[in-house]
């Protein structure tokens, strides 16, 4: 099982995801620098958070133009599980792999805090170990995380069960329908604004209580081990 962590200039959660996958959860992960062309070896790809290209112009828009994204699009079409976290989500949206847009937070301020999200779709490679309506304690850290989408497309998201997580109790950034994560129609590409890699070690949670956010990565592990077995 090999997971590729795609690193762009300015990515800054790449090392965190690497640590969690390799040292905490036992999924083999490797870095893939954005100029590398060979991404065929990987069973899944993760686009980590950060500030690719310094968020210039708009978060994710420059990284979305890089050649590796063309290769990622092909892999997405072939059904490879692809997860975008925070800036990774922004890149996937800018690349057209996920619908909608991520705009500046409604309060026009960066926001870093722990909150709760709830599970709406358990039929993805990233949520198969979770239960419907499960609550997850998880942190956000973003300035451009307000998910917006037109009414007709929103309807489509609901119809296809593409809303994977919603914020619970509070809307931290003004997202449409409190949306925190969505997937593509096929379910193999998911983008989420919160940071599951920051919630897998109990010592880092504010209450030092166990969070089930690690199940997002463990679902991927579960999915891949079944997939590889078959």
């Amino acid at each position: 099982m090999k997971v590729g962590i795609v690193v762009f200039p300015g990515s800054n959660c790449d090392r965190d995801v690497y640590h969690v996958l390799n040292d905490v959860l036992g999924l083999g992960a490797q870095y893939v620098w954005h100029t590398e062309k060979a991404i065929n070896d990987f069973d899944a790809l993760i686009l980590p958070g950060g500030f690719s290209y310094g968020d210039r112009l708009r978060a994710g828009v420059i990284a979305a133009q890089s050649p590796i994204v063309e290769a990622i699009k092909k892999k997405a079409d072939e059904g490879l599980p692809i997860l975008g976290i925070c800036n990774g989500f922004q890149i996937l949206v800018e690349a057209g792999l996920l619908p909608g847009a991520l705009m500046r937070n409604d309060k026009l301020q960066f926001s870093c805090k722990w909150l709760k999200i709830e599970v709406l779709n358990v039929n993805t490679p990233f949520t198969n170990l979770l239960r419907l309506n499960d609550e997850i304690s998880i942190p956000i850290a973003h300035g451009e995380g307000r998910y917006v989408i037109g009414d007709d497309k929103l309807h489509h998201l609901y119809e296809n069960n593409q809303i994977v997580f919603k914020y619970k109790d509070q809307n931290p950034n003004g997202s449409t329908e409190m949306i925190a994560a969505i997937c593509n129609e096929e379910g193999n590409v998911m983008g989420l604004m919160p940071h599951p890699e920051r919630a897998t070690e109990t010592i880092l949670s504010p209450t030092h209580a166990k969070s089930n956010a690690g199940l997002i990565f463990l679902s991927l592990k579960n999915f891949l081990s079944n997939y590889i077995k078959n």
Partner: protein
């Protein structure tokens, strides 16, 4: 501008008349900002050695040994003048500068902290300058730190009207590395000198000199422009180059630009440099050699590399898309030979450059100290609840989440105790943690710079101890008005003496520091504002302690509460009077209480711990109730004290006091008695969600959690305009 004396000294040493470029170079390096000419004599006296100190205070970061090959680098800097003029860019470039000092040691930056000072937010409206400065400084720090992916884990914020139309922006950074991978700056004849990063431009010209005089004009061209994305690339490229043993020596460009960087680096490696300025990559064509030498364009580093390593270096820097130019080579001893298109245009000994003639400043006890009242008469208080809510809503005391939520304080997966508690705790590995806190108190330091500074030291150490850490190093940033004013210089000397006395007594070394003078506007000088940072070490994850109580905890207070309200938040906000009884630190008591609490924590007897200083017992107990969302019942009569009134008892800021919660009161009682501590059991934590403070049956405070929390979150409302 060089003084007449300095000009004469320079000519004598050179044996000739310096040319204009040489004068510009010397002017930057001999500025107060770079040369420490008014402070060096005293800074040298700070105790800076210890078993964990690998590198003490110097040009870049100090280095502490954490054991098992782990080393911690730490550095603090300020960017006050630039931030007062252009808060966003000034604060952001302040972050950038201190980060480059950490990577200059070959270590990876893992956390940032800041100490900020602004004029009071009282009556702040949309157009208030204090609010504008505050908002933009925070945004500048956030945008820079967030982008480079280094968590801003904590800090200290104070509002006081002596900072009117001004602000202090101190940034501290810590880095983590391996002992054998530290860059031991050295150079050999023929090594290449490489300037990498941002092209040199006209931004920040004469910034070091700008920062070395009063702020009397808004010279925006002296402020630099931040580019955090480039900084992030430089961090990664430098770490990769260091890993590949490409770097013999390294130095970042800060105040005084290339001129100061080259002279200090040349002095550091004890070699001469030959520099061709026309090789420097620039933002625009036609920069004069003088501009190239003293420009303070940000995100630039100088590397000394062995010729054989150039191809590896080139590969790494190309990977990250960082422009660099080879601007010269190492040649001979102690000489900076500057060429422009092959023609020699300056030639100075670096030894001469980095050793500015020191100033003998006059010192005199300030007149104002003689006029301070020692005794005052206060009206009787009718409703203590109102007073406590007022105290909690004071931005100096209340919740600063409005600030900390704008910082990504978690990237890097190390932030165990998040900003806003006692001290921040950073994970080094599964069983090793570093605790760090910055503290300052300009109100105390104004009334008594010696005891005020001792108090800052005592408080910073106490905060670190509350998290379960043993203090292992101190950093200091001493900020004052003009040293040319003897009354201000006196306060500086008092302050530094306090640090010397404290650190000698506690045997904690000073591992880094800065002095910043000329912090004055045309209005007035700032109050003496030393900022103290304490770094602590936790060697067992079970020792990590928070300030969150649990139901059933028995509360103890350690330390006697004296009637010490001079410079307290209570007197400042309610009396606006200058009253002189500043809390005094008794070093013996301070150490005894610190060791006792550490002992209790290390024996698993402490459920929660909280420092009791700014705002006194009243606010400390309220903070505990708020952080636990629980009720607290305390009998104030049990608090060891000599206060004549309830409000004094509630809000006195006496040092060396802790409040701890425990599930094993008998054991705690026994241990504290055996250590001869002054202490008592004062109350309980319960489920009521009410803070109930009485004095042997008489109710003094009775406030529900919701009211406390609302008051405590006042800053949110002020800043969001709600």
């Amino acid at each position: 501008m060089l003084t007449r004396k300095e000009d004469i000294y320079l000519r004598e040493k050179l044996g000739r008349k310096p040319n204009l470029l040489e004068i510009d170079m010397i002017d930057a390096e001999w500025s107060e900002h770079c040369s420490y000419k008014s402070s060096r004599k005293y800074v040298k006296l700070l105790p800076s050695s210890g078993k964990r100190v690998i590198v003490g205070p110097g040009y870049d970061a100090g280095v502490l040994d954490l054991g098992n090959d782990d080393v911690l680098t730490v550095h603090i800097e300020s960017h006050n003048h630039p931030s007062a003029v252009e808060p966003y860019g000034g604060a952001a470039t302040g972050v950038g500068g201190v980060i480059r000092d950490i990577i200059s040691m070959g270590t990876r930056p893992i956390a940032l902290l800041n100490a900020l000072r602004f004029s009071s937010l009282n009556g702040a409206n949309k157009t208030s300058k204090a609010k504008w400065l505050f908002k933009n400084v925070v945004k500048g720090i956030a945008d820079y730190g967030n982008c480079i992916g280094i968590p801003t884990v904590g800090g200290d914020i104070e509002f006081d009207d002596s900072f009117k139309d001004y602000c202090l922006v101190d940034v501290a950074a810590i880095g983590l590395g391996k002992k054998d991978k530290l860059i031991a700056n050295h150079a050999n004849d023929g090594d290449l000198i490489v300037l990498a990063g941002n092209p040199t431009g006209k931004d920040g010209i004469r910034g070091a000199s700008f920062a070395s005089k009063l702020l009397d004009e808004e010279d925006r061209s002296a402020v630099q422009i931040p580019d955090p994305f480039l900084e992030k690339l430089i961090i990664e490229a430098t770490i990769e180059a260091a890993k590949n043993n490409c770097i013999n020596a390294i130095k970042d460009l800060g105040g005084g630009g290339l001129s100061c960087c080259l002279s200090e680096l040349s002095h550091l490696v004890n070699r001469g440099f030959e520099i061709e300025l026309s090789s420097v990559h620039t933002k625009v064509a036609g920069l004069s050699p003088n501009e190239i030498m003293i420009s303070e364009s940000q995100e630039r580093m100088v590397y000394i590399i062995n010729k054989q390593k150039l191809s590896t270096f080139d590969k790494i820097f190309n990977k990250y898309g960082i422009t660099y130019s080879i601007i010269g080579k190492v040649h001979g001893q102690d000489n900076l030979n500057i060429l422009f298109h092959g023609k020699a245009i300056a030639n100075i000994s670096c030894n001469l450059m980095v050793n500015a003639p020191l100033c003998n400043r006059k010192s005199k006890k300030p007149e104002y100290l003689k006029k301070i009242k020692k005794k005052i008469v206060l009206d009787k208080i009718r409703d203590y609840n109102i007073i406590l809510l007022d105290m909690l809503s004071n931005p100096n005391i209340g919740n600063k989440n409005w600030v900390y939520q704008q910082y990504d304080h978690e990237v890097g997966l190390r932030t165990v105790i998040k900003p806003g508690a006692n001290a921040s705790v950073i994970k080094i590995n599964d069983n090793k943690f570093v605790s760090i806190k910055l503290d300052g108190n300009s109100k105390h330091c104004y009334l008594d710079p010696y005891h005020g500074t001792l108090g800052c030291l005592s408080e910073a150490c106490r905060n670190v101890i509350c998290t379960g850490a043993e203090p292992i190093g101190i950093i200091d940033h001493l900020q004052f008005g003009s040293p040319e004013n003897p009354q201000i210089y006196w306060t500086f000397k008092e302050s530094i003496e306090a640090i010397i006395d404290f650190c000698n007594f506690m045997k904690i070394p000073v591992v880094g520091g800065k002095v910043s003078f000329y912090n004055e506007t045309m209005n007035s000088p700032i109050k003496p504002s030393p900022i103290i940072g304490t770094i602590g070490l936790i060697e067992d994850r079970w020792h990590i302690t928070t300030n969150v109580p649990n139901v059933g905890d028995t509360l103890f207070i350690l330390g006697q509460t004296n009637e010490e309200l001079g410079g307290s938040e209570y007197f400042d906000s309610h009396l606006h009077s200058k009253y002189g009884n500043v809390p005094m630190v008794d070093l013996e008591t301070d150490r005894r209480n610190n060791l006792a609490v550490l002992h209790l924590i290390q024996n698993g007897l402490v459920d929660c711990a909280h420092d009791c200083s700014k705002g006194g017992i009243g606010t400390a107990l309220a903070e505990l109730a708020i952080s636990g969302k629980l009720g607290i019942t305390v009998d104030l009569k049990k608090v060891p004290n000599n206060c004549s009134r309830y409000d004094y008892l509630l809000f006195s800021e006496t040092h060396s006091r802790f409040i701890i919660g425990t599930r094993q009161p008998d054991k705690v009682n026994k241990i504290l008695s055996s250590r001869n501590c002054i202490f008592s059991e004062i109350g309980k934590v319960d489920r009521t969600k009410i803070l109930n403070l009485c004095y042997s049956g008489k109710e003094i405070i009775n406030l529900p959690y919701d009211d406390l929390n609302l008051g405590y979150n006042t800053m949110n409302h002020i800043m969001n305009g709600t």
